[in-house]
């Protein structure tokens, strides 16, 4: 799951440091919004599109990731058309296309672990503020560990309640689930202390 959206390949984009790619997104966003007008947005989109063949990401996979976003952007284009004019509508749509495609490319060419490492490095540098890379990586690992545990607890509680003849109350399900999870968390905390 941790690399669900990543596409393994060896491209220049894959090799760029994760931190650099991560920093590029806000810069691109700032540029696109600071320089309005559809021609700028179109140039931006063209540049990002040009990266696609360099990235080693099959266009089909990229398109699949973009599909939900494209639907929204289509809606946005029509809405804009209604309230403003074609130029503004096209500008907004192209801007978001460029930005979302760039962000998606980053996600598909960078391992989650590399991004997390980049964040940890950042945290290390900012250690004086109280940010701790060890705590960050522990919290991330725990979250991934808890997802299946949670699923299992929900399943067990749901079963227990079905056995008592009541199937459908969300509150009656959520309370015992949370009680069990909090107890689990208390013991996990103890276990971590015992191991560190």
């Amino acid at each position: 799951m941790i690399d669900a959206l990543y596409i393994a390949a060896d491209s220049p984009l894959h090799r760029l440091p994760a931190g650099l790619k991560l920093a590029a997104i806000p810069v691109l966003a700032a540029l696109l919004f600071a320089l309005p007008g559809w021609p700028v947005a179109a140039v931006g989109l063209a540049i990002v599109l040009a990266l696609l063949p360099v990235s080693g990401v099959p266009p089909r996979r990229a398109a699949k990731q973009l599909r939900p976003a494209i639907a929204v952007i289509a809606v946005l284009f029509l809405v804009q058309l209604w309230f403003t004019d074609v130029a503004a509508a096209a500008g907004a749509a192209l801007r978001f296309l460029a930005l979302i495609l760039a962000a998606t490319l980053l996600t598909m060419t960078t391992r989650a672990t590399a991004l997390i490492e980049a964040l940890e490095a950042l945290f290390r540098r900012l250690a004086w503020t109280g940010l701790s890379p060890e705590r960050l990586s522990l919290a991330i690992a725990l979250t991934l560990r808890f997802i299946p545990v949670l699923g299992q607890v929900v399943e067990e509680v749901r079963e227990a309640q079905a056995a008592r003849g009541r199937d459908r109350s969300i509150v009656a399900l959520a309370v015992p689930v949370l009680v069990r999870l909090l107890k689990t968390a208390d013991e996990v905390a103890e276990a971590i202390d015992a191991r560190s």
Binding site: E156, V157, E159, A160, Q161, A162, A163, R164, G165, R166, A172, V175, P176, V179, R180, K183
Partner: protein
């Protein structure tokens, strides 16, 4: 009587139970087997918490596939961890939970709750907060919540693993008093000592099905 005819059960990709045919008629039946051998899955078939992938499970003639609610009303189920099945913060509220669909008048519910609490040895605990009870007491409350619905059959899935000897005996005693049929899944061989029949599972099959003495003996040998 609970019957399984040619039951196969898949969970996810795995075939968890394979071609089971059993008639469960004895008043006290124990289920043993290794972790993952299919005991809990089997128990869940008996009250329709799981439905067979193929074959039929019938409870007193009711096919769990045809009318799961009716089947389930006849089969009470107690789980290993009382925290799973306790819904309300106080004892009385929680025990009354399963009675709600019956729409009884309040005094009748209160009387039923008090009677059942006395039966499991917790008379007068109506207003106590569940989270202040000990593990053993919580398991007894969970059992009371099942008994109050007056099922004809009682299926228990490792109900005593978290308990000490004394609490284990209290649960065992409350279960022994149960007038209907008991089907008990456990790793605790002492609990099934006096049972009429003991069935041992291994990888989704029944490998032993006998009176208690010889079955337990065979199970010990299997685990070597």
């Amino acid at each position: 009587m609970i019957e399984l005819r040619n039951v196969t059960l898949h969970r996810g990709e795995r075939r968890v139970l394979d071609g089971l045919s059993l008639s469960l008629a004895e008043p006290r039946i124990g289920i043993l087997g290794a972790n993952g051998s299919g005991k809990s899955s089997f128990a869940r078939l008996l009250n329709g918490l799981l439905l067979p992938t193929s074959g039929h499970v019938t409870v007193d003639g009711i096919d769990t596939r045809d009318d799961v609610k009716a089947a389930r009303r006849r089969v009470g189920f107690l789980f290993q961890n009382p925290d799973n099945q306790i819904v309300h913060p106080t004892v009385a509220e929680d025990i009354a939970f399963g009675l709600k669909p019956r729409r009884l008048p309040k005094p009748a519910v209160a009387a039923a709750v008090s009677a059942i609490l006395a039966r499991v040895g917790l008379a007068g605990s109506e207003e106590r907060l569940i989270h202040e009870l000990s593990g053993g007491e919580r398991q007894l409350v969970a059992l009371a919540g099942v008994l109050v619905m007056e099922p004809a059959h009682l299926v228990l899935d490792e109900p005593t693993t978290l308990l000490d000897l004394r609490n284990r005996r209290r649960i065992a005693a409350a279960v022994a008093d149960f007038p209907g049929q008991v089907i008990l899944v456990t790793h605790d061989l002492d609990l099934v000592e006096s049972f009429d029949r003991v069935i041992v599972f291994e990888a989704g099959h029944v490998v032993v099905d006998d009176r208690s003495g010889p079955a337990v003996h065979a199970y010990r040998a299997l685990c070597r």
